[in-house]
């Protein structure tokens, strides 16, 4: 049998390996897990935003049928060690992270009492009987007010509500603004969002008293981080504590932090000696899953007469909710608003200042895009405002300021370094339809239709290595991932990772990578992920890192194993290693018909006594573990173009068309990359047009159901065109760039610019999102 050409799996539209079980209803999600003697938790949650707990009366509840136990903070006091999200950032204050509220509650929805019962129905029955009395404390709902010195303190030990403050600057922005011929400014507001994965969070803790070992099944994106934290919190050594994510129904960052309920199920399972499950319902999800994007930005852009940027200044207040989330800290989103604000442009003078202010709301965590959706919204609006003032086309405004190919590596005004990537190429690609869209718009306007076109360009850092910390001195290392590739005694290939998949298709893309490097078929590779026991250290999936880091580690590990496959085969075939190759699950001598399957090779190496001499056999390792650190990050740019139509009477906005051009480096699976863009853009459209977590003045959450927190359906999302450009490949083993977050980064800005463009005859700026029909009515009718 002659096999010459190696099949190429990288770049192929491989059907996903996870699909058959998910399609056939054979997935294993957290609520599908039922362990013998398992108990269920329902919580009593605070209905006060900021209050002292006076008394908890659970006597009637304890008597209800099926109740096994009731826990409040004092009941678990000696059973766990508290943890904080630490950081070496100057001007940062960590907060405690209660598992059950003890002296006070700091947001509506905070867990106060845990009722443990035979099933969730009975647990809720008992929870209804519990009375908690509160003494309201000072109003701490508003971020702007909370930043003032005399505001009621959410955390006395912090001494302030400003949990983090950071400034980035370059040059002399005051001078630049003073001498500029064009200045545009605005007060920009992005309202609070919640990730709204279709599967709610859930945890099952299973404690084995015989082995004194705990397994936590969790809908987590970060199994390694949770495991490492629980080791400290529960005094269980890491070799007896395992965190494993089953099939997970979406995360988007909302499942990428440590949660109080996650810790509590472990404490209770160990205490009661029975498995314990808690599944969030949708009401709890909308109240307690980490929220995001809640930012106030006052910004100003200055240009010369030709539209070249001279300076950029921004003052940002991030509303970060009641606690500093673990491990990312309350700074994770607000800091990125100012560090990424200069965008993909040359900004010679810059001052960006941010304060992360605690409020009596759900804690803010990392949601897809993390700060960059807001920074892009603000900068892209300013670019359009400046273009309008100069009577420049927005496309030309971007061309004149975007970092050019010969300027890379380019250090931005905030110190971020962009490496060579397709900034202008992406802009040119969306521009290719621009002229004809403008002609269509002119014709539509002549008919009295309000049609608008909006552009948004951005760049982000993905695949971050150890040189770039999201926050200095964070308690975790985000810069590495580890992969183990193993051929077992049957010739089957397994690949183990510390990352976790919630829909990104990592079981398939990482299999493609390993298969390509090792010389097997994609379907021969079983990817084990989402399990803290899979590798010695891993953190998980967040910040668009899995392809670069896990992919890089996979390549290195697979290459190492391949070397040994060749070495073993060369010995068996009595050939030179240079004449031996592996492809499609076969190892063979090139140009001959001498070959064997991986199964036969494995049998020879492992199971056939005497097949290989002792000294050869002992030095054949058909298993390799590699840790990969990209050190820096990769730059991922994109340009988005949106076409919208605004009903001139009802002010309903329809997105007619959406185009994305991005450079994500070498594409492993085009299906999957397209899918990530589609999903991100849909979430970005939702963020722009309809999604908003609303609290009333007393801190009561108003958006407590999916009829009130409104996410887009298929009818509100347009068909999209997505273009992937590969320019220069970045310097990592696969040439990959991360790309999962781009949709939410570009879409709010593109939509805001498009609606502004549609309303241009009225001179209305869309600087607040979501731009609901109600808000448009206020702007247009000027009331």
């Amino acid at each position: 049998m002659e096999i010459d050409a190696r099949p190429k799996m990288i770049g192929a539209r491989v059907q996903r390996l996870e699909d058959p079980r998910l399609l056939a209803g054979q997935g294993r999600f957290i609520d599908d897990l039922n362990l013998p003697r398992m108990l269920h938790i329902a919580f009593v949650r605070s209905d006060h935003a900021h209050a002292r707990i006076l008394e908890i009366d659970s006597a009637d509840a304890a008597a209800k049928p099926g109740v096994a136990a009731i826990f409040t903070a004092p009941d678990i006091a000696g059973l766990w060690n508290p943890i904080r999200a630490t950081s070496r950032m100057a001007d940062y204050h960590a907060t405690e992270l209660p598992v059950l509220a003890h002296d006070k509650v700091r947001y509506v929805g905070e867990a106060v009492v845990a009722v443990v019962a035979e099933n969730r129905y009975l647990a809720e029955d008992a929870a209804e009987q519990i009375m908690v009395s509160y003494e309201p404390l000072g109003d701490a709902i508003d971020a702007i007010a909370n930043a003032k010195a005399d505001a009621p303190l959410l955390h006395d030990d912090a001494g302030t509500n400003v949990l983090a403050a950071r400034t980035f600057h370059r040059g002399d922005v005051d001078a630049a603004l003073a001498e500029a011929s064009v200045r545009v400014s605005g007060n920009f507001r992005m309202h609070r969002k919640t990730p709204t994965a279709m599967e709610n969070r859930g945890y099952v803790a299973d404690y084995d008293p015989g082995r004194r070992a705990l397994t936590l099944h969790s809908t987590t994106q970060i199994p390694g981080i949770v495991r490492d934290a629980l080791v400290e919190m529960l005094d269980i050594p890491g070799n007896r504590l395992r965190v494993v994510a089953p099939d997970v129904g979406g995360g988007f960052g909302g499942k990428g932090a440590l949660y109080p309920e996650e810790v509590l199920v472990c404490i209770i399972a160990r205490q009661l000696g029975r498995p314990v499950k808690w599944l969030s319902d949708r009401l709890e999800d909308l109240m307690t899953t980490n929220q995001a994007f809640d930012e106030h930005v006052a910004a100003e852009l200055a240009c010369d007469g030709e539209g070249h940027i001279l300076g950029l200044r921004a003052e940002v207040i991030g509303d970060v909710g009641a606690y500093s989330v673990y491990p990312w800290t309350a700074a994770i989103e607000p800091v990125q608003v100012v560090s990424f604000l200069p965008g993909p442009y040359r900004v010679p003078n810059y001052l960006g200042r941010v304060r992360a202010v605690a409020t009596s709301k759900t804690p803010t965590g990392a949601y897809r895009g993390v700060g960059r959706p807001i920074s892009t919204f603000v900068m892209e609006r300013l670019m359009d405002m400046a273009a309008a003032k100069l009577s420049l086309d927005p496309l030309e405004m971007r061309r004149r300021n975007m970092v050019q190919a010969d300027e890379f590596p380019y250090k931005t005004a905030s110190g971020i370094v962009w490496d060579r990537a397709g900034f202008m190429e992406c802009l040119d690609k969306v521009a290719s339809s621009y002229e004809s869209l403008r002609r269509d718009q002119t014709a539509a306007r002549a008919q009295g239709r309000w049609v608008g076109i909006g552009l948004a360009s951005y760049a982000e850092l993905t695949g971050l290595g150890s040189r770039i910390a999201v926050a200095p001195g964070m308690p975790v290392n985000t810069g590495t991932e580890t992969a183990t590739v193993r051929i077992d005694s049957t010739g089957a290939v397994s690949a183990y990772f510390g990352i976790a998949s919630q829909g990104q298709g990592l079981e398939t893309t990482l299999a493609q990578v390993v298969a390509e490097e090792l010389g097997v078929r994609v379907e021969d590779v079983d990817v084990i992920q989402g399990d803290s026991a899979a590798v010695a250290h891993g953190t998980g999936t967040y910040a668009s890192r899995s392809t670069v880091l896990a992919g890089g580690a996979a390549i290195n590990a697979a290459r190492a194993v391949r070397e040994h496959v060749i070495k073993a085969a060369a010995h068996i075939f009595e050939a030179d290693e240079g004449d031996v190759d592996a492809a499609d699950g076969q190892v063979f001598v090139k140009g001959t018909d001498r070959g064997m399957s991986f199964r036969e090779l494995a049998r020879a190496v492992y199971s056939e006594m005497g097949r290989l001499p002792k000294d050869i056999r002992e030095n054949i390792e058909l298993e390799a573990t590699r840790m990969y650190d990209p050190y820096f990050g990769t730059t991922t740019p994109a340009s988005h173009l949106a076409v919208v139509e605004v009903d001139p009477e009802t002010y309903q906005v329809t997105v007619q068309n959406y185009v994305v051009a991005e450079d994500c480096g070498r594409v492993i699976n085009p299906l999957i990359v397209d899918g990530q863009v589609h999903g991100g853009v849909a979430q970005g459209i939702g963020a722009a047009l309809m999604e908003e977590v609303v609290h009333d003045g007393a801190g009561q959450i108003q958006t407590a159901s999916l009829m009130d927190y409104v996410v887009p359906t298929a009818a509100e999302i347009p068909a999209m065109q997505v273009h992937h450009l590969e320019t220069v490949l970045p310097d990592n083993p696969g040439g990959f760039r991360g790309m999962g977050e781009g949709g939410t980064i570009g879409a709010p800005a593109a939509i805001a610019n498009a609606i502004t463009d549609a309303l241009a005859p009225m001179g209305i700026d869309i600087n607040e999102l979501p731009i609901t029909p109600e808000r448009l009515f206020r702007l247009i009718d000027g009331k």
């Binding site: 056939a24 209803g25 999600f29 129905y121 709204t196 298929a714």
Partner: protein
């Protein structure tokens, strides 16, 4: 019927007889009593569509139905469509077009798709989108779900 009454129903062609409390939701009955965990629960409010099953030939929200109400009924869940080794044409279309990512909304999408394909001509993609507007998805942006349904229309699925 009182608390703890017996119900009899056919699910995916198999007859079951069980005692249920009146308040047990059909979704919970299917998932936990019968172990058919393919049907998922996302909101318990009838909005997200993840729990959609087919009852007596019509797609319904199993989270808005008590098991006792369907005594004598005939239910089809996602498990009735195909198996891991033998996906049905609609499931195959979803796979081909990458119409699922996390898979949580997918069973509901499929059962809604089955009913839409039987009942509506779905001549335009806008009609498909409106038909799917009762099934929320946060992963796919719907682009490929529409393509998968379109290909099923063209293949005559549900005719």
């Amino acid at each position: 019927m009182e608390a703890g009454g017996m119900i009899k129903l056919t699910v995916n062609g198999t007859m079951y007889e069980r005692a249920v409390e009146p308040r047990m939701l059909l979704a919970d009955f299917l998932r936990h009593e019968l172990g058919l965990t393919g049907t998922h629960v996302g909101c318990e409010q009838g909005v997200c569509g993840a729990c959609t099953v087919i009852l007596n030939g019509d797609s319904v929200r199993s989270c808005l139905c008590f098991a006792v109400q369907v005594d004598g009924g005939r239910i089809e869940t996602v498990e009735s469509l195909g198996t891991v080794d033998n996906l049905d044409p609609l499931q195959a279309a979803f796979q081909e077009h990458h119409a699922l990512q996390c898979g949580f909304c997918t069973p509901g999408m499929l059962m809604t798709g089955v009913d839409l394909l039987r009942k509506y001509p779905l001549a335009t993609d806008q009609e498909i989108r409106e038909g799917l507007s009762g099934n929320l998805c946060r992963c796919t942006g719907y682009e490929n779900v529409v393509k998968a349904i379109r290909s099923a229309v063209e293949a005559g699925y549900g005719d």
